[in-house]
Amino acid sequence: MIKSQENAGRLGAADRLLVPVEDAANLLAACAIFLLMVLGVAQIVSRTVFNAPIEGYIDLVELSMAGMAFLGAAYCQRIGAHIRMELLVGRLHGRALWAAEIFGTVVGLMIIGVLVWYGGEHFWRSYTLGDSTIDAELPVWPSKLLVPVAFSIWFLRLSVQLWGSMRMFVDPQRDPVGVIFVKGAAEQAEDEMHDAMGGDIDEGEASQSGDGK
């Protein structure tokens, strides 16, 4: 059993390494949301009070959408927030459960892998062939670059979860490391409630990430 502990150790380390990256990315998305609020108010004031709308406001908003839309994706994955139907998976236990987890994660890895690569090509085209926004003619490539960057983090998180699920599939009695606990509908509802209450809870409660306690 020494080997498996070693495995869990390395898996745990990979998990711990990824957590601050995901948090930082989500925090960036959060900042983008806050700035969108500030920019919106500034636009109203500047336009209605001074008759001088902010040049390229719509372009700026559109470019910043990528930050809000993608940077939090890996964070969502870690805490199991991406929507799925729990009707069947919620009833599974042991190996069957981990098999379902492995299947779902592999599907995720496939599509996110494709999107890292081809989202990257989409960025590369706009970087090399030239691309600018409709109004203020701002360059588009920084915004498009966020897709391969954010999805790479997502891909790594999915890899950790795949590793964790396979480890559990081999021996369901082990302490789970680097996986999401499948929640029953009631637990999912509890998360919704915590969400509604905002930050009154430590996010660690919602996931089994971190050191796997």
Partner: protein, 440 residues
């Protein structure tokens, strides 16, 4: 080319893809992955690998960086902030001061307090969660029946998606390329009508069974007016969003930004610290990423549908049916009711609309009216078994009320919702009058 059918038989490719999607979703694959992977596979069948992967690679960025969608993070942020600004407690307090004297007064007050909160929150589960904590203990203290108390909170939460701001209405507008502003306005009256029908049915029930909803002590006029300043920020946010859209002095995103700023300042004044604000923002970012993933994931599938020609085929089939449009509409709504038993509201709309919407329009129905009807249907699904998320939320917040009790408490409000939908079918003006006023 996987099957080698390609464009020879697009309808068959479409049906195989839909089946595969359903299987993946049932096996618990996250909706974003299932939809995107099936979309990719379908496109590979039609276009070959490089064309398919290339076009799929463009979808997340191009579909997410749309100005109209930028209203979503603003609406989400307002909802999280509103809770921290303590608006919920004050709303319930004011509603009971004004309406507590009615038969079933506390429950009626809960309906209108949730309607008020709906005007600052776009998420119905969140609204149910908040009021399960605020309103249920009060009702129980006055000897209300547990089932009734739980039911009114679960049902009241659904008002959040009709009364603007509403994320789900925005998503409908994006998919069908309708004006976000007009649709948001259109939800206002139906939301109000829903609330009134809820209230009427509570009053009726309380008169039949007074022991289930005992009267609370009446309030003086002085107390009533004293309760108003606490809720004035809610009215301010409503005023900002409605007049901005109606008056055209700001886009929905800008109005959302101003509304968020107002609630933000209020939260600061009421003592929210850096940690609270940060966690509200982190939660908003998380929810935003989740909703956007759902949107672009499903739109990859929709991109495949576009190439396959399935929506057109479905439309011509539906239009060719020898049935009155209203009968077809009722069939569509029943299909939604079945689907909604198992699926999340946003996912359900995203997956079905690209096929169903063109057919509905071809039948001659108004796109704004249909949007509101469909959103109302999706909301009803949040309170029906077996997956009724709002009911789960109530049960999670108040574990002393068992899940079966919550579901039984919903029966009354399910009847109310059916009445509302009949009203919207019979009097489409309830939906269209506000947006029509806007265009004249």
């Amino acid at each position: 080319m996987i099957l080698g059918i390609g464009f020879e038989n697009p309808l068959l490719v479409g049906i195989i893809a839909l089946t595969l999607l359903l299987v993946l979703v049932i096996f618990g694959v996250r909706v974003v992955f299932a939809a995107a992977v099936v979309g990719l596979l379908g496109l590979i069948e039609l276009l070959g690998w490089s064309g398919a992967a290339g076009i799929v690679g463009t979808v997340p960025h191009s579909k997410s960086s749309t100005y109209a969608l930028s209203v979503l993070p603003m609406f989400i942020f307002i909802g999280f902030l509103a809770f921290h600004a303590g608006m919920t407690g004050q709303l319930f307090n004011a509603a009971r001061k004004w309406l507590g004297w009615l038969p079933g007064g506390l429950a009626v007050a809960t309906v209108f307090a949730t309607a008020g909160f709906a005007a600052i929150s776009g998420a119905s589960t969140a609204t149910s969660a908040v009021f399960a904590r605020v309103a249920i203990p009060e009702m129980l203290r006055y000897g209300y029946d547990k089932k009734l108390a739980a039911g009114v909170v679960a049902a009241g939460g659904t008002l959040a998606t009709l009364i603007p701001p509403s994320a789900i209405i925005v998503i409908y507008a994006i998919i069908v390329e309708e004006s976000v502003g007009r649709l948001l306005l259109a939800g206002f009256l139906p939301g109000l009508v829903s609330a009134l029908i809820y209230a009427a049915i509570i009053v009726f029930w309380a008169m039949m069974r007074p022991e289930q909803a005992p009267a609370a002590e009446p309030s003086t006029w002085k107390e009533r007016f004293a309760s108003l300043p606490g809720v004035s920020p809610v009215f301010l946010v409503v005023l900002i969003i409605i007049t901005a859209i109606y008056g055209g002095w700001a886009t929905p995103t800008e109005a959302g930004a101003l509304g968020a700023a107002v609630v933000f300042v209020l939260a600061l004044l009421r003592g929210a610290g850096f940690k609270t604000i940060k966690s509200s923002l982190m939660e908003s970012a998380k929810l935003t990423a989740m909703i956007f993933a759902l949107i672009w994931g499903v739109l990859i599938f929709v991109r495949f549908l576009g190439f396959s020609g399935v929506p057109e085929a479905f439309t011509s089939w539906v239009v060719g049916l020898d049935m009155p449009p209203m009968v077809i509409m009722i069939c569509i709504l029943l299909a939604y009711a079945v689907l909604g038993m198992f699926m999340d509201a946003i996912g359900m709309l995203l997956l079905t609309l690209p096929v169903v919407y063109p057919a509905v329009i071809a039948l001659g129905f108004d796109s704004i009216w249909f949007g509101i009807i469909v959103v109302k249907m999706a909301e009803v699904c949040l309170i029906t078994p077996p997956i009724g998320l709002n009911c789960f939320v109530v049960n999670a917040v108040q574990p002393s009320i068992s899940l079966p009790q919550v579901f039984r408490g919903i029966a009354l409000f399910f009847i109310a919702d059916v009445l509302t939908i009949i009203a919207l079918l019979a009097f489409p003006e309830i939906v269209t009058i506000l947006p029509d006023l806007l265009s004249n």
